[in-house]
Symmetry: none
Subunit: 242 residues, 2 copies
DNA sequence: TCAGTTCATATAGCGTTGCTATAGGTGCTA
DNA sequence: TAGCACCTATAGCAACGCTATATGAACTGA
């Protein structure tokens, strides 16, 4: 009974639906729950929103405006690719902050209304990527880049939402983000396809690591650890191949 | 009435559910539809599968076996990164061929059963990435690479499913695919936003050695030595990012 | 051979769901 | 005051997921 009183029934329905949607961890939300919380009866809902999906669409529209506001909120840094990175992070953060709403927006429930929202989100990205393209920083068409980045962004966010909050490792996001931004940006050295030589082995890898370790003065191990480590490496790398 | 007759009711229920799930374009499928098509009554369903979700889980399990079979079907090319690319394409193709099943598997309906399937799919990728790592072709931990690639793969597939079949542009998939594979692979000129060029050779070598050691059961070290060795390797190979 | 047990299916119906046919109340303009 | 939109409530329908109970079929051990 939180929304009795001053607000018009339409608003009360919207807020009640949003609240129940946010609380119910993925479970279904019934119109009876919504109307009861809003303090109205069923026909009021259907008068204002047509049907249950219409109400949810309205909730999503409100959520999407919040999302768009977040995507536009920061001051442009002057470096479009940096701004793209912020948009990515904002996207992930929005998804983790409001997972239920995010799932309704970008998940696959109700596939009909999804494309419109995806297209809007794509537009936001593309807008920014156009600036990057204008600055000569883009390797591909802004539209293709936007689609690709958004797809990866959604995939990452869905995966993060799906796993328990305690285990969430945001490095998945940063790593994928940088990979995608790098892929569409210019100034990259060579391309991905080629592989070198072929089969490696414990020995080859050990030799490489040995050389690299001695050259770089890694501080990940103490000196005594390093000594023993190198001894083992030597033992491995001088043994017969397998 | 397609499944009357010879097959046992359990199989008839499974096939009826799969068929209705595939036909209904995203719409809900009722138990009454399923049982009617299977030619049985309601309690039979609940006797065999517990509840509706149990039946759907069984359908998903069957679909997932098909998916796994597809992921393993081709002969390894000897070039792990090429095989990763095939796995990506197979993933997308599976999603487009059976969108409803895919949405149940990788979409967000029923978030409880999702992580298990995602983990399995991740395992398939990681398995192959371990070979790449053993060959010194990987820039990051195979597990992280698998998570990142799978997230992007799911995101792309969902986006392709969401848009009308006529407008589907598979270039979105190939572009994102190559971007992700390139990002986790070695032999790239420099990397995205970060620097750390000096240490990266240590990291790559450590990752390769780690994978190779675990795969080869080397007998150059005692088991206790090996344990400590691997722990140090892990420390080195996870020390790069921030 | 036959009672006992288990498995598999059917009959009938419960409670809840999304939704609506109908009607009544409210406030505005003429 | 009459008329007319607009908004909301009463009551209830068909479809939903699911189950208490009962019946048949198949097997088991004496």
């Amino acid at each position: 009974m939180s929304f009795d009183g001053q607000l018009p029934p339409k608003m009360r329905l919207l807020r009640a639906a949003a609240e129940l949607l946010a609380k119910s961890a993925g479970a279904a939300v019934s119109t009876r729950q919504i109307t009861q919380l809003a303090g109205v009866t069923a026909p009021t809902l259907y008068h204002h929103f047509g049907d249950k999906e219409g109400l949810f669409d309205a909730v999503v529209a409100a959520g999407f405006e919040e999302y768009v506001a977040g995507e536009r909120d920061f001051a442009p840094s002057g470096q479009p690719l940096v701004d793209i990175r912020r948009m990515w992070d904002n996207h992930v953060q929005f998804g983790l902050a409001q997972p239920e709403l995010y799932l309704v927006m970008f998940g696959n429930i109700r596939p009909e209304s999804r494309p419109a929202i995806v297209a809007d989100a794509e537009g936001l990205l593309e807008e920014m990527l156009n600036k990057a393209a204008a600055a000569g920083q883009l390797n591909v068409q802004p539209r293709e880049a936007a689609r690709s980045i958004l797809a990866a962004n959604v995939g990452v966010t869905l995966m993060l939402i799906a796993e328990p909050a305690a285990e969430r490792n945001l490095e998945l996001s940063t790593m994928t983000r940088d990979a995608m931004i790098f892929a569409v940006s210019r100034d990259q050295g060579r391309d991905a396809g080629a592989e070198d030589s072929g089969k490696s082995s414990v020995v080859v890898a050990a030799i490489a690591l040995n050389a690299a370790l001695q050259a770089s003065h890694s501080d990940q191990l103490t000196s005594s650890e390093l000594k023993l480590f190198l001894e083992w490496l030597h033992r491995i790398s001088t043994s017969s191949t397998s």
